[in-house]
């Protein structure tokens, strides 16, 4: 633990899109406040680190983890490609460095468990970057659900997808089966499944289908069941405009959240047409960038021993277990636009299974 007043030295491991768009503004604000000092920037592509170096000129730059002195920083933000998360996090934890690992914490449950083991034997903390948990809207929805305001939960539908994919991925690894280990499920799906379980408790996957035929999926559909027995579905896409709504229905009312909306959700009553546009009184963040700041503040406070980690590694692994479970029972999404020959090839590439579910 760092002393209350000491500046925490931060290393940014991976200087791609998420680091540039979201971590950089938050780190600049914290550095200006004297709370942290960005001490290291690591990326195998020198140009990526150099872009951030303009904002943090005192930081040491490196291309490989072994090139950085382990005593040089207290907290590492691991924002590298998914497949590197586990190895880098374990190496850092074993060197006594605390880690905030971007989602997904790992691409397999075995790796995630190894990360947790490494954190348990060393002095460092392991936090998982699930930024949507810092949105005032998602937090308030969790409280409203925990209060039982919807009565008995009867169903849920989560959908998220855009017709054009616009994430400015810095490396091709994002689309590589070998490096990313998955597509939309491993990316947006981590958030969706995390919120689903954070809000409604443990779920069981009943059926999973996607459109991957040897590569990574751009579309997927998960049918799942809550512990209370109610069922629902999660539909995700990288190339199809969906409703982008997370809706939970209960015997007394319903809640609906526009995916990505930081500080607003809708509440409806089962027995009336009244719909309430609700903005949480918790004003800790009003946009995506401020939510990253809230996330970093929590990790820093935990390092100083003044707060509990809001997303410890033990919570991050739950989503990875679900994703692994989904891929284990993967079937090919029904795609009526394919002809018989293409379907046969699709089956062949997907292990022979073809689901009855249809991509919408």
């Amino acid at each position: 633990m760092r002393a209350q007043d000491a500046s925490i030295r931060v290393g940014l491991i991976g200087c791609g899109a998420v680091a540039r768009l979201y971590y950089m503004p938050a780190l600049r604000e914290l550095e200006a406040a004297g709370s942290i000092e960005v001490a290291a920037l690591l990326d195998p592509v020198a140009g990526h680190a150099a872009l951030l170096h303009e904002a943090f000129p005192r930081a040491q730059m490196a291309r490989q983890l072994p090139d950085l002195p382990r005593q040089g920083f207290d907290l590492a933000i691991v924002a590298s490609p998914h497949s590197l998360h586990a190895a880098q996090t374990i190496e850092l934890l074993e060197a006594g460095v605390s880690v905030l690992c971007e989602k997904p914490m790992a691409t397999s449950v075995d790796d995630a468990r190894a990360m947790i083991r490494a954190a348990s034997v060393g002095p460092g903390l392991l936090a998982i970057g699930l930024v949507r948990r810092y949105f005032p809207a998602t937090r308030m929805i969790r409280h409203m659900l925990a209060l039982g305001t919807l009565g008995d939960i009867t169903s849920f539908e989560f959908s998220e997808g855009f017709a054009s994919f616009d994430w400015p991925a810095a490396s091709r690894g994002y689309f590589s089966k070998r490096e990313a280990q998955g597509g939309v499920l491993m990316d947006t799906g981590v958030h969706a499944l995390d919120l689903l379980q954070w809000w409604l408790g443990k779920i069981a996957v009943l059926e999973y289908a996607d459109d991957a035929m040897g590569g990574i999926e751009a579309n997927c559909l998960i049918r799942c069941r809550l512990e209370c027995g109610s069922t629902g579905e999660v539909r995700l896409s990288r190339d199809c405009a969906l409703a982008n709504r997370y809706t939970v229905r209960g015997s007394r009312g319903w809640l609906s959240w526009q995916a990505g909306q930081v500080d607003q959700f809708e509440f409806g009553f089962a027995d009336s047409a009244q719909v309430v546009q609700a903005r949480p009184r918790d004003q800790s963040a009003s946009n995506f960038e401020q939510s990253f700041l809230s996330q970093l503040r929590n990790v820093i406070a935990a390092l100083r021993g003044t707060e509990q980690l809001q997303v410890p590694a033990a919570e991050g692994i739950a989503g990875i277990e679900l994703i692994e479970n989904c891929y284990r029972q993967r079937s090919l999404m029904a795609m009526p636009w394919l002809d018989d020959r293409e379907i046969a090839r699709g089956r062949e590439l997907n292990g022979g299974r073809m689901a009855g579910v249809v991509a919408r």
Binding site: L147, V276, Q277, R279, R281
Partner: protein
Amino acid sequence: MMNVPSHRARIEPLQPGAPRALWSVMIPTFNCNQYLQTTLESVLAQDPGPAVMHIEVVDDHSTDDPAAIVAALGRGRVSYFRQPSNMGITRNFATCLNRAHGRLVHLLHGDDCARAGFYEHMSRLFELHPAIGAAFCRHVFIDEHGRELATSALELNSSGVLPDALERLAVEQKIMTPSMVVRREVYERLGGFDDRLPCSEDWEMWVRIAAHYPVGFEPEPLAAYRMHPNSNTGRNTHNADNMRYTRAAIEMFKEYLPPGSAHDIVLRARETYALSAVEFARERLRQRDLSGALAQAREALRFRFSPRVLAEILRAFTWS
């Protein structure tokens, strides 16, 4: 005497024929010395003498030495009894009631006050209406500095017997303890406060009395109830125990209500306290106590899961 269940104190009748004062002003106290002097002064300023009024402080094993204040201010006029250990509110009340020997008992917490004219007006009410078992006056809420915050509702325009007292008192807790006077024989018959209720024990008691006796009302605000963070009410809001026990009190007294109207009265009481719990939730949010606010909201829904309560909860937690 009715058969008094074990969770209610038995209040033993006094020897018949023994000389008795009209009043017993019983002052239960626990670690509230900063207010006790004001409380005692408020009674002593109206003191009709020992033949008419018995005044006693019953100390629930305080650590702030109320005996010194009693000795300094009472100068022998105010008796003092110290519990051998801390008994808790309802058991200390039971001690007060059993030690009271006046015909009318006024329980005045060591942080509350009787305002000028209290004993005169209330004596007259009992004289004019001999059938009443208890009577209460309006009260003012005061803060820790004695500043007036609000005045309770006007139940009747003039002093007299309160119509529909049982229904009115069961729908909402309208009586703060310092505003209530009860004949000792009523406690002897019905038993004392229910010790399963660390909060709302007074409400259950007043409803039980109203179920058996007419109740008088005095429109003058002659009592002061102090609100402060360490008051019984203040202490129990952060975990919503105040509302949990209020719910328990309703469950207990619904059996005293007339069968034809009990259901409706209970529903109204539950709606009233659901909305009250939401107000406590708002207050906890103002104190930046989210877990306390959520506990209050949870209690609100346990009282009554109505669209109105739900909408109020949403309004408390969101800008909607």
